[in-house]
Point group: C2
Chain length 161, copies 2
């Protein structure tokens, strides 16, 4: 019984191919701090304002300022001014497409935490608006099969010629 993946093709020798281009490492360069991912979580929950991010994530303003700037620089959030009629100008941080596309990462973390770090399976739940059923993240192949980790082969990407 092995839980590791099966490596195929030019991957076996492990000849240092990864350090340069591994996209997990690249993603972590942007997201490896706790505050960055929790700010993104808040953005999905609809938070848009500086003070709310700091308070709801539970971080100090200087940290919130630093992290929000980085996330804007990286293109995960967009900073916009807006003005409601009769009000003064405010700022808001909105998810960009790149930021919104991060949702599966947060769901994956939540699903793992729900299963392994909470005795009641986690405090919140995602449901499909149309049918009301719970939503989960699943590994699936292009042919539509649900796939277990043990059934996966890993190899270099084949460029479709």
């Amino acid at each position: 019984m092995t839980t590791a993946l099966r490596l195929t093709g030019a991957l076996e020798p492990r000849s240092g191919w990864k350090a340069e281009r591994c996209t997990i490492a690249k993603a972590l360069a942007v997201l490896s701090t706790r505050s960055a991912l929790l700010i993104m979580r808040e953005a999905f929950y609809g938070t848009t304002r500086f003070d709310d991010f700091a308070e709801r994530v539970g971080i100090s303003e200087p940290v919130a300022a630093a992290r929000l700037r980085e996330l804007v620089d990286e293109g995960l959030l967009a900073r916009e001014d807006y003005r409601e009629p009769g009000q003064r100008t405010r700022q808001q941080y909105r998810l960009t497409e790149k930021g919104a596309d991060l949702f599966p990462v947060l769901v994956a973390l939540m699903q793992w935490g729900d299963r392994w770090l909470d005795d009641r399976g986690g405090p919140i739940e995602l449901r499909h608006r149309d049918c009301g059923e719970p939503v989960t993240l699943t590994l699936q192949c292009a042919a539509g099969h649900e796939v277990d980790t043990s059934e996966i082969d890993v190899g270099r990407r084949r460029r479709e010629a």
Copy 2:
């Protein structure tokens, strides 16, 4: 056009319910360092030995030692002695079930990095061993519908009575 989720039920007031039990935050308490997730990546690639972890992740031995100890303490890896016939005793780190269950987190990070941080869609590929088709992580409801982020409602978990 809004990319945030729709909050339902007792969730709207945002009354600080989250800080205590949010399982994303709990997961990040274990996994928020770059080296921890890269070590887990290596474990999925089949790495089992101390020196290989340090070298392939690209971290120093002291850091590898600290991180491996934490991951063993948290139950994501198991440290075992083994001896091949005629050889001396060696140590290895193996994925536990808890560790193996982290796979979707790494896939989610990889998928996001492939799309947004690499001009060629990422260096490696996951394929379903049975049918050879590429494997991706998808949001799906219990009724089998593929679900987009915009179609998800978030609410407190309802305990099935």
